[in-house]
Symmetry: C3
Subunit: 244 residues, 3 copies
């Protein structure tokens, strides 16, 4: 099973061609669109978002992730990671670093395999998708084992006190884990602040609060409102959480 | 086969995680995205919209429907309905009431099965998706049969003289059935009104009309225009249809 | 394998019902969403866009394409095309003409098969999808062979010096092929013009350029900017490319 995580959006033929490239290699692949609106060109925010999703994914599912502002840049290596038994395929730009940081075991390979006719701008279709399909069906593309320390993920924190995503309801997802905070903590937002509530209905209409979302992250929300607008928050904004 | 009908939107990982939860139970499930922009948090409009879609669905397909503003509210029961031989899985908030109302035979069960780690906000992924996958592959989750009269669907009308959806072309779908009206009827819209036309090309450019859409519902449209803007209509607005 | 190319958008139940109609005929069909935001009601621009995508598609995959402003018009024939061994199913409105124009071998059939209950507005679901599913599984719906010359594709140019699509990053795709131009050519845009660059990073931030995109078409872009806004371009606008 291959799960797709990209910043391509649903418009255009980008996702469709990614899938076609998988099926060109493996007709029997099961492909799931996990998310296609990852923070655009933002591999750092995307890394924290992706890390929050992997706990709910079958252990034998492969993750094909493409958030790749450096596509076409010769310095950026195409990568395969194996973390706690699961394969990840994508660019070497930090996208897998948060998962690597918290994994019990991790290995990395540089992808040496190359298709004929690799384009400069669509490595997702031309390179990553075929490699993902090969690995998914048990084949082995040409890979070179990398020294784990060279990836640099050890410098990444396991959490990020920033906004990493705003969903279509305007809920503001942070890179902070619910397991690391306590429910008496508050989040400072400019002149205002919000406290914890278990669910939306626990606060009044239009009132802001933070809760632990279904993927274990601290999320700022407004009951029947739009937190991103109410608090003027966007991806990359810092989040100050404190014990009063 | 499992058909998904939700108000999650295509953004975020909501739909992706719903599917992942299905595949966690059943790798061979065939899953189709029927619609993911059902009227948000509006189980009433969604109920009439969903009812208009089921005639075109194979009899053995299961429908997993989640429009669930009450998620996290302990009073809201998770439900399995079997109507005219087809299973429906979702919240007990009226979402299936229109289908129940017109079905020849209908049964209801409360879902007693619970996953470990049920979150407060994502019952679609944690509860409804696994139950749908179990039923789809012939397994039986823990269920308790409910008295049909307790659901309260008998009080629902089979049709709704309101706007229940606006599509991406601005066409305005009502909860009225084409089979119940005659083509000499007119729809009163504020100071204006529209008459029937068989197709878009039967009226002049920019002219409004009503027709019976491909799912059998009365729909207000403008030839090469946007009916929702032209007549200032949104979900929930009343629709006055009369015989001149 | 069936690839879908439509202007339905992802909203509503249009795509979902198209797929359901395929599965009603063939449960084992593999269906891929190639693109659902083809230029709306614009079969000409869509024809050039679709033609740019087919090289990356497996030879045995069938293409079900619906961009059909004339649906409900009795004069518009439903069509099956076989070009270079691949089947295409859709309306006879030019949508397949660019592919036919450059194909080595091409055959056409009028679809005579009709479902019971063909609606006036949703031939994608009612007519084209079942026919595509039948052909995909090796069945033969009722078809009448057409004289190739009657289709009129010979009058279509293989390329189009116009904007044919704007993607979600605001990149402007033209109907000109990279193989037909040379990198010293420039594109005139109102008072301004842009030259060739291999990739985004080869020009300064905010600077415009043209490049050959991953599907072989000339594309106008702005590094870290939005070309469609910067140059005020939309589908159908002419593109003047010249040798200085």
């Amino acid at each position: 099973m291959i799960l797709l995580f990209t910043d391509y959006g649903w418009q255009g033929a980008y996702v469709g061609q990614l899938k076609t490239a998988i099926y060109n290699v493996s007709r029997s692949a099961a492909v799931i669109d996990l998310q296609h609106d990852a923070p655009v060109f933002d591999s750092r925010a995307s890394a924290y978002l992706l890390a929050s999703l992997v706990d709910f994914i079958p252990a034998d599912a492969l993750i094909l992730a493409v958030v790749d502002p450096g596509v076409g840049n010769a310095a950026r290596r195409p990568l395969v990671m194996k973390a706690d038994g699961r394969y990840y395929v994508g660019p070497d730009n930090g996208l897998f670093n948060v998962i690597a940081r918290v994994a019990k075991s991790v290995e990395f390979w540089r992808i040496d395999w190359q298709p004929t006719g690799l384009t400069k701008t669509f490595h997702g279709r031309d390179l990553f998708a075929p490699v993902a399909a090969m690995l998914d069906q048990g084949d082995r593309p040409e890979l070179t084992r990398l020294v784990v320390e060279d990836i640099g993920f050890a410098d990444w924190s396991a959490e990020l006190a920033e906004v990493i995503y705003v969903d279509n309801f305007g809920n503001v997802i942070t890179g902070l884990k619910g397991l690391s905070v306590s429910t008496d903590m508050r989040i400072h937002l400019d002149e205002r602040e919000v406290g914890f509530a278990e669910t939306f209905s626990a606060v009044g209409e239009g009132e802001g609060f933070w809760h632990i979302n279904a993927n274990g992250l601290v999320e700022i929300a407004v009951n029947q409102g739009t937190a991103a607008l109410a608090y003027n928050l966007k991806i990359g904004d810092p989040v100050y959480m404190y014990q009063p």
